[in-house]
Amino acid sequence: MSKFEDRLWRDLVRRHGADLAEMTKPASKRARRARPRLLASTSVALAGVGTAAVLLLSAASSPPAFAVSRNSDGTYTVTLQKLAAVHGANARLASLGIRARLVVVTQGCTVKALPPAAVHAMALAQSMAGKEAPQVATARLDPRRIPPGQVQVIPAYKVAGTVHVDKAHLMQGQAPACFSTIVAPPCELRQMTVLRNGHLTRLTPAEAKKRAEQALATFRAAVSRGKNTSGDSGNVGNSGNSGSSGNSGSSGNSGNSGNSGTSTATQVPAPAATWTVGCYVHGNHPPVTPNSGNSGNSGTSGNS
């Protein structure tokens, strides 16, 4: 065997050795057991019973390690029981022409970092490890909503022996071979203002108050002109605030402004306090601050 062939084999073992080692049953037996399942599900589809027709069950072991099901509304449900079945599920998705792929989150992966939103899901899964963890992980995806040139990736990982999948994320081009486990961003302390509604904003308290007053003024002007109903005025408040580049704190403020158009119209949702929160590091929490339970999480999303 040549040097290239040896090196390639070592690479394969490094990347897929663990998955292959988990598949202990011979392929012929796997196929034999899977056949009745496939036939059974086909007959279900033919009979039109149920809302979802299972298109394929895994040829792995019993029970099936994955399934790709088409739902009555045109969406698909991907069910995963073993992490090793990711590739089989991906092959099935590819054969169905669905531009969505399950991507395993592994330590040491240098291909792609985990999408920020998936960090939260994984942290939650770790915090809930062993507590009502589902036996199978499911993800729902809608192929019609995948724009051309993009692919939906579904991070898949194992926590405390249980497989989890996160919701799908859109990515440009091809799906990565793997996702790295969370790499903490460089810690950057930020001044964050906590609003009364619990949202965080990077605006200073004075700026936040000014922004809220502006939104309220816009709202009042709209009401006084009688152009909008009170239901619409909430939207006006939002649009007035939309110039704040999607700052969640500001939009939270506008919601309050809308409410204030009724009995509490004179109240301006001034900031309650100014806190300093740190960047979110997986497994750790931002610096402890009063009532920082929820708002700390909001700060996480702001950072990521």
Binding site: L20, A27, H87
Partner: protein, 189 residues
């Protein structure tokens, strides 16, 4: 390039009741790496591209090994099916002006020894490349049938599996392609 019966027979995975998938896959890899590499060496003259496409084929195969069913065909036929998809993807990416090879996650630069090995492999497949070039006027299926059976050494049954057609269709197309090539060859003389 034709394979002997013993070598061809060994392409089928033997699965003992207690055999692990890793051991099975290693057997598949050892018996087929050479022919898969030759398949790409007939298509690409760049050692790095041959290496990347070969790697991509086996990485995909390792990932999908759980769904491989020996009753549907041999491991070699299954691998050539994957290799065909890998090469088609490579061509599509190249046609779009994108560096298909660079996007392969498995890419790693080759060292001097490996480049020499692959260059020798590419050189050894020169005759095969010439035949493929002569087949360029043939329909795609006929061209693929000639290559898989006459160059890669697959049985017609294996080639039919790899190409996703029935054995009857494969044999007809193969026969037609050979007749055309023979006629063309006689015309040249």
């Amino acid at each position: 390039m034709m394979l002997g019966d013993s070598e061809r027979g060994s392409a089928t995975v033997s699965t003992g009741p207690s055999g692990s998938a890793l051991a099975e896959f290693e057997q598949v890899y050892r018996h087929n790496i050479d022919v898969v590499m030759a398949y790409f060496a007939r298509r690409c003259a760049e050692p790095q591209v041959v290496a990347d496409l070969t790697s991509e084929t086996f990485v995909r195969a390792a990932g999908a090994f759980g769904s491989f069913d020996p009753r549907r065909g041999t491991a070699r036929a299954w691998l050539f099916g994957i290799a065909g998809h890998v090469f088609a993807g490579h061509c599509a990416q190249t046609a779009n002006g994108r560096d298909a090879v660079a996007r392969l996650a498995q890419r790693r630069p080759l060292d001097t020894d490996e480049i020499e090995e692959l260059a020798a492999k590419i050189d050894a497949e020169r005759a095969g490349r010439e035949l493929i070039a002569r087949c360029s006027q043939l329909p795609e299926l006929e061209r693929a049938a000639v290559e898989l059976v006459d160059l890669a050494g697959l049985t017609p049954k294996e080639a039919a599996t790899a190409l996703g057609v029935s054995r009857v269709v494969l044999r007809k197309r193969l026969s037609r392609a050979r007749a055309r090539l023979r006629k063309e060859h006689q015309g040249d003389e």
